[in-house]
């Protein structure tokens, strides 16, 4: 996919700027540095600066900003940690980037109900630190230490999704400022409801295009009595994937199971100072009672042995486990940093799990012919994997080459009844693939967008161009 240079824009109306200054004072930022910081992507997309940045401190701040922006016909783009992968927060039509990172209060924890309510700018790691003494945890963990609001907006997941689901399952309710500057709560705190259209799930994954999420009520889970992590190398990728599929078929409630190819292991070893054998490897985590975990492990070890797996290397101490999973979470940075000065590009297909071995093997064959370094890692229990390319930003032909490989990968996944985006969202990068994937259903999405945001001011140019 090519990204044409952005068209020139008129500067912000001075009267609008004055009204922003009057309402937001020191919360308003106009410096080049601050605009740069909110106009950059972590991946290969070109920078696109907002005209202004406003740090919101309350839902009321967001309401007033929405009112001012809609009156002046200025785009408004929510921003959390800026760690999204598909250019989801880039202000491609300018406007105001509303930074929610200072809305980082944990409002309530209802331990008996296994839920909590947080402001959108809370980051996932801070939430889990806060929860530790309650005996509960929040399982959704994209690689980055993202904000909960950003994770809801892109329908993020991570390494625990095979057991605990994604943000689709984790979000109980949202507080949203709508394009007409109303504050709605999408649901009550009951764990299930059949009360009309599922607005919670409509806003989860809508990437700020239908309104701005300011508070999130999340489902939590009890910290398991026993947690055991292990790594296991395999002779073949097929053997590794078969081990996972067979485990799930036997009802083993795997908490985490991640695949990393040999190149990715090399990158992780270097970045995180580990010494894993450089072969296709599974990272496992088992949750349960001590007896239950022992039973899960016995089943999975036997399956791994039958599929060309080596010995399990255990990490049972909390610090060892933390080190292992920190290495996994930093795998993207590890891969991109293998090549000095490189820019990263992460693919994100997800297929029915029975098709995963073929999808990865065909992709590996394609990568074998590539000139750009690439690693593979994935949430194998979900059928979701990433190829991480490390691209020389001064070599346009590399971008072309990766773009073509990604196109073949997405087509391969779609032919297997898979999706072009398992967890990164559509943003800028997956728009044409969204149409290839869902056809006329995208027209329904456009109709919904036009109905709720008729002037296309909320994160315009994302998911689809109107």
């Amino acid at each position: 996919m090519h990204h044409a240079p952005l068209p020139p824009r008129a500067p912000l109306d001075p009267a609008f700027l004055e009204s922003l200054k009057a309402r937001f004072g020191s919360q308003l930022h106009l410096t080049e540095a601050m605009r740069e910081q909110h106009g950059r992507s972590e991946t290969h997309f070109p920078t696109a600066l907002p005209d202004a940045v406003v740090f919101a401190r309350s839902t009321e701040d967001v309401v007033d900003l929405v009112r001012l922006c809609t009156e002046a016909n200025v785009p408004i783009i929510p921003f959390g940690a800026g760690t999204s992968i598909e250019g989801n927060t880039l202000p491609v039509r300018g406007g105001v980037s509303v930074d929610l990172s200072e809305m980082n209060a944990i409002l309530t924890v209802n331990a008996e109900d296994f839920d909590c309510t947080v402001q959108a700018g809370v980051r996932r790691e801070e939430l889990n630190l806060h929860l530790r003494d309650s005996g509960l945890f929040f399982p959704i963990d994209p690689g980055a230490n993202a904000t909960i609001g950003g994770m809801a907006s892109t329908r993020a997941s991570g390494t625990n999704a095979v057991r605990y689901g994604t943000m689709r399952e984790a979000v109980l309710s949202l507080t949203v400022v709508t394009p007409d500057a109303k504050v709605i709560r999408t649901s009550r705190r009951a764990r299930k409801s059949a009360a009309g259209y599922d607005l919670t799930r409509l806003f989860v994954g809508s990437e700020g295009t239908l309104g701005i999420i300011t508070e999130v009520t999340l489902r939590l889970h009890p910290i398991p009595e026993q947690i055991s992590s292990a790594v296991c190398g395999f002779e073949s990728l097929q053997g590794a994937v078969d081990t996972v599929v067979q485990s799930i078929q036997l009802g083993v409630p795997l908490a985490r199971v991640e695949i990393l190819d040999a190149m990715q292991i090399r990158a992780v070893n270097r970045w995180s100072k580990l010494a894993l054998p450089e072969v296709t490897t599974l990272f496992f985590e088992f949750h349960g009672s001590p007896a239950g975990v022992a039973e899960q492990i016995a089943t999975v070890e036997a399956l791994a042995q039958g599929n060309g797996g080596g010995d399990f290397a255990w990490s049972n101490l909390a610090e060892e486990r933390a080190r292992l999973w920190k290495a996994r979470h930093e795998a993207y940075y590890a891969a991109v940093n293998m090549r000095p000065g490189a820019v990263g590009w992460s693919t994100d297909v997800c297929v029915p799990i029975s098709r995963l071995p073929d999808c990865i093997l065909e992709t590996q064959a394609d990568l074998a012919k590539a000139s750009v370094p690439a690693t593979i890692l994935g949430h194998v229990g979900d059928g979701n994997f990433h190829v991480i390319f490390s691209i020389d930003p001064n070599a346009p032909q590399e971008m072309e080459e990766v773009s073509a490989i990604n196109a073949r990968l997405v087509e391969r996944a779609l032919a297997m009844d898979g999706t072009c985006t398992g967890e990164h969202g559509v943003g800028i990068g997956k728009q044409e693939w969204l149409v290839a994937e869902l056809g006329d259903a995208v027209d329904i999405m456009r109709t919904l967008k036009r109905a709720l945001d008729p002037r296309d001011l909320f994160n315009p140019g994302k998911i689809f161009a109107l």
Copy 2:
């Protein structure tokens, strides 16, 4: 809530009727008996006849019917098994009831991927019969043997939701005929996706007001190696609920846990020829490996003993288990049949589980003053319970009395951050409560409805009156 008599309607346009006859032949029914069958509710709502009934046999039939109805400005109301509780399928503005019960093919079962695709008219019991040899099962089980399409439309759940979720989690993808007579598929078959707005979840629970579901792709689960069911009587309701909350807090993965009060046990004993002690009782089911189930049981038995529970009466044989859960599924009919000639009314609040004891106890105190017989049963692990009233249809003051009790119950649940409808949907019966529950969010729902169905022809008068 009072239901005024329906306004008189003009008969169907003869030209429209001719076009229906030409296209649908023997699939079209105009007899009083057939219209009665599609204009009746299982509960207390007045009959509302459709002008015609069409039995669809394919998605193409539905497309053509939608085209004819929209051209002629005639309402179209999807109908499955007709077992909904809130008047969800009643043609309150006339029109064509499209009966999907003959679209009952199981299209594909992908055992390796734990999913299947079925036509909307397949019933849940038939699906599980079909799946038995695959080692998989479909867990969602409302009391009635409902159709999968109807269950998706009302976001139904049942006794397994505490472990396996509701139709919100169970539906992977839908085929929908939209109001502009297009056929869309809302998602691919991958287990997770971040591909734009979550249309699957938007249509789940939309009660036929945004389009007509013709096919459903469902998540399945492996049949557990060990299944054990038990009943346990308690000295107090508080003790029963505390046992459940404490079990969940300890991470026991209860598959089913249902509460029945003494009156409901009396009704079940009579209807299903059981001999359970007539006290507040929990029905349990445990799923897992033999060792895992034994561990779960030991934990829960110890908690029950500490909370005034009696001995567990076990049903380990498949036939015994089936008898127990059949009795539970027929509890609504059992309750209503306690009073000859009575009409049933089932309430459906769901609250955060920490509030459940207070919610039930306050409701019991209110019921103690009532003149209409009532039982209580519920999905205690979800915080969802039903009061089932048996109303004399010839005593209007009984309907008034139940309406007032239900109003107090819903207000009580809303004050506890609960919902007016845990699993029955909004239909006709919960419209004013939906607004009390979600306020301005209902305006967003209306906006979505108007955008997708601007002439209000799809199941008009449900969820909200436009």
